[in-house]
Symmetry: C2
Subunit: 448 residues, 2 copies
């Protein structure tokens, strides 16, 4: 029985290039026999059932904005996309909750919440393109995860299709549930290797009245990391604690809306949020904590300035990319006391491999985007940038951290997991994969 007997003909589209890659780069493009764009969970179940009956690999993709190759169909087969499974099934603003299908973009979730005075706090990059299903599959983070937690923290229930083609619902519009094993958390972050998330119940929270960033500039990483430590010791909970190192600042600073002060070679961005008076109080504490040894402290207060600041921060990745045309930006996370090591060692690794290096990211969570640049015309340099990434992964483990804080293992970090989890943990990991997907057809080659 061919696939078009189990899903409507129009749900099957040609495997165009845009369905075969994500933002990982490295020249990796997958192959697929067909791309299926189901409109209902039953169609998703039918596709999984068909793949399981015919031993065909099945790779799920959301918006395709992943950076680890998680959505690349490296072993061919079928690609399943969720762009047509994009309904808002229910929205109860007075009860702080929303039930959305996997293909709704993260920005639409955020927007819908905002229009009712609520907030869906996870704010990974590319929210306009990324889909909530993909964000759940990667347990995406973002700057405000420091105060608000990552995507999984806001998911109270999932609908998913698991092999050999069954629809399962775990949790729901419930804020507490300890009945079964935490299947919801197991599916969150599983990168499409255990099941396909088709819908989610999301928890929301009243939106803060005011967001007040406070930015400190320092002469070096040592002074900047000390400032971050003072922020943590100050007794307030910032909404975000980011850093950009000197190289990042050099490459992206021209567009910084308030002018990078002379002598600045490290930048710390914090943010206070809440009701007006509370946000101002926290911003005051942050200013004080950041001021010591600072070259300058900026505290943009106008809403338009705040938007400008975060837009610039989100654009830093593009400014970096523009430097040489190519950039591999990773997402290791380390214990907070190892931030200094990451900032310093990133540069040393770049030097050893002869590629420009820099780091920036979600400092408060210890989750740093160490980045290595290359020219796409220089295959050798690109190769060296890739090798630098692998040395970075080793660094993360040596520092007691993880090779991925928010992008996932995907295809890029294949082989790292055993190293990180150790033989006992890795064996458990494989046993769980086996329990969900005994034929190993879901996103083969990934998350391992």
């Amino acid at each position: 029985m061919s696939l078009d007997r189990v899903v409507p003909h129009e749900a099957i589209v040609e495997p165009q290039a845009r369905y075969l890659a994500d933002l990982m780069g490295r020249g990796v493009q997958g192959t697929a026999d067909a791309v299926v764009l189901p409109s209902t969970v039953e169609e998703v179940a039918a596709v999984v059932r068909w793949c399981y009956e015919h031993d065909v690999a099945l790779t799920a993709r959301g918006g395709g904005t992943g950076l680890a190759g998680g959505a690349i169909p490296v072993q061919g087969g079928i690609v399943i996309g969720f762009e047509r499974l994009n309904g808002v099934r229910q929205f109860d603003p007075l009860l702080w909750r929303m039930h959305v299908e996997a293909g709704v973009t993260t920005a639409d979730v955020q927007r819908l919440a905002r229009e009712s005075g609520l907030r869906f706090p996870p704010d990974p990059g590319a929210a306009e393109l990324s889909q909530i299903g993909g964000n759940i599959a990667c347990n995406a983070g973002g700057p405000h995860a420091f105060k608000y937690g990552v995507t999984g923290h806001w998911v109270t229930g999932l609908e998913a299709v698991i092999p050999p083609g069954e629809i399962v619902r775990v949790g729901g519009p419930l804020r507490k549930d300890v009945a079964g094993y935490d299947l919801k958390s197991l599916l969150v972050g599983s990168e499409g290797t255990l099941g396909l998330v088709t819908a989610a119940w999301l928890r929301l929270v009243p939106a803060p009245e005011l967001e007040l960033p406070v930015v400190g500039f320092y002469r070096d990483a040592e002074a900047g990391v000390s400032a971050i430590e003072r922020v943590l010791a100050s007794g307030v909970v910032p909404a975000a604690v980011e850093y950009l190192d000197g190289v990042t600042l050099r490459f992206s600073g021209d567009a910084y809306p308030f002018g990078v002060p002379a002598g600045a070679a490290f930048m710390v961005i914090t943010e206070a949020d809440g009701a007006a008076a509370e946000a101002q109080r926290v911003a005051g504490e942050l200013r004080e904590a950041l001021a010591d040894e600072a070259v300058a402290v900026h505290a943009p207060a106008e809403p338009s300035e705040v938007t400008e600041l975060w837009r610039w921060r989100a654009g830093a990745a593009f400014a970096i990319l523009a430097q040489r045309g190519g950039a591999y930006s990773e997402d290791i996370a380390v214990p907070l006391d190892r931030l200094r090591d990451v900032a310093r060692e990133t540069l040393a690794i770049g030097e050893r491999h002869g590629v420009p290096a820099l780091s920036f990211g979600h400092a408060g969570d210890g989750n740093i985007h160490s980045t290595f640049l290359f020219s796409p015309d220089d295959l050798d340099e690109e190769q060296r940038a890739d090798e630098a990434c692998h040395e970075l992964f080793e660094l993360a483990l040596r520092l007691g951290g993880t090779v991925t804080g928010e992008h996932g293992i995907g295809w890029l970090k294949r082989g790292q997991l055993e190293h990180q989890l150790g033989p006992v943990g890795y064996d458990l990991h494989l046993r769980i994969k086996q329990a969900f997907d005994p034929k190993g057809l879901l996103n083969p080659g990934k998350k391992r």
Copy 2:
């Protein structure tokens, strides 16, 4: 090889009654061949290995304060207690984190945090007796879970022993990690059926400067639940949203420190917290939201009064118990729009079974302690109270909820899980159990 060849002789103690039961009641006491009280994770591993080699059941217990019989050794074998594995391995107040062994009491974790200006927010009952390992195994909640989340939200890493006797470490002092499947969340709430938690990395947060409860009294449940809905619609995030119904109030109201006003037959307790001005602002909003239709609103502001209020709230369970000498207090959780149904149906269920009924609990999380009273001398009444609990579980599922929001399935709710998860979800649940504990020796008969 006998057990005393693999652990020190003094680690093995007689199976006294206090190691064979928890607070579930129902006259259930387990049996055990021996109780082992290891002092190191290696000793825990040796016990698990020995049990696995000899096909002996192994039941873990923390402080024994569980209400679902999760710690009762219903199939004999070995009981393992964690009271001697109670070291604080590391405490980094400036980095908001703590590494503790399973046997540290929850109150000690809270105290240690508080002494450094921090807070470990989970606040389940019996904190002086319950151990952090047991709280993790049950994913314990408490009143302040509304704002702060349940125990698992504060665990960033676990050390555990899994069959056939391996020590595994997942996560660590890391705030973000999406590398492997979420084994940490899988162990959290698994009630000792997948592995034995031996130590945990906990995340902490700066303590609020002020806690300001605001209490509303209403003439009936309808008015009280409407007040709760207004609180949610008010745009502030209370630290807690509790309710006590009219019967609860009648049984416990005499000891209420500020005097229950005449005509009050439903009580809503909310709390504002944060820096002084912010807590006062939120308390003001709460007062306003609660005032409508209220018989009275109380807003105790003195720290001693706040302590008194919460001490009284924690003692309500004992006042209830004292009424007839026996009480079965469950912990279903439902979507927030079904609170009214729970309050009403609890009374109707009690009436149908001829036992006094009442409800109170963590209303903001939809997690309600519906309770049925009996006299311990009246076996028939006790039986009817137990039957009422089972009808309550059916109610929870009919309302789209869970049979357990914070106590766990344990032994008490055996057979409920398949009903709640459905055949596909339950099959997945069993496959996960199989992946961790193929011989089914860990806490047999539980969590199913």
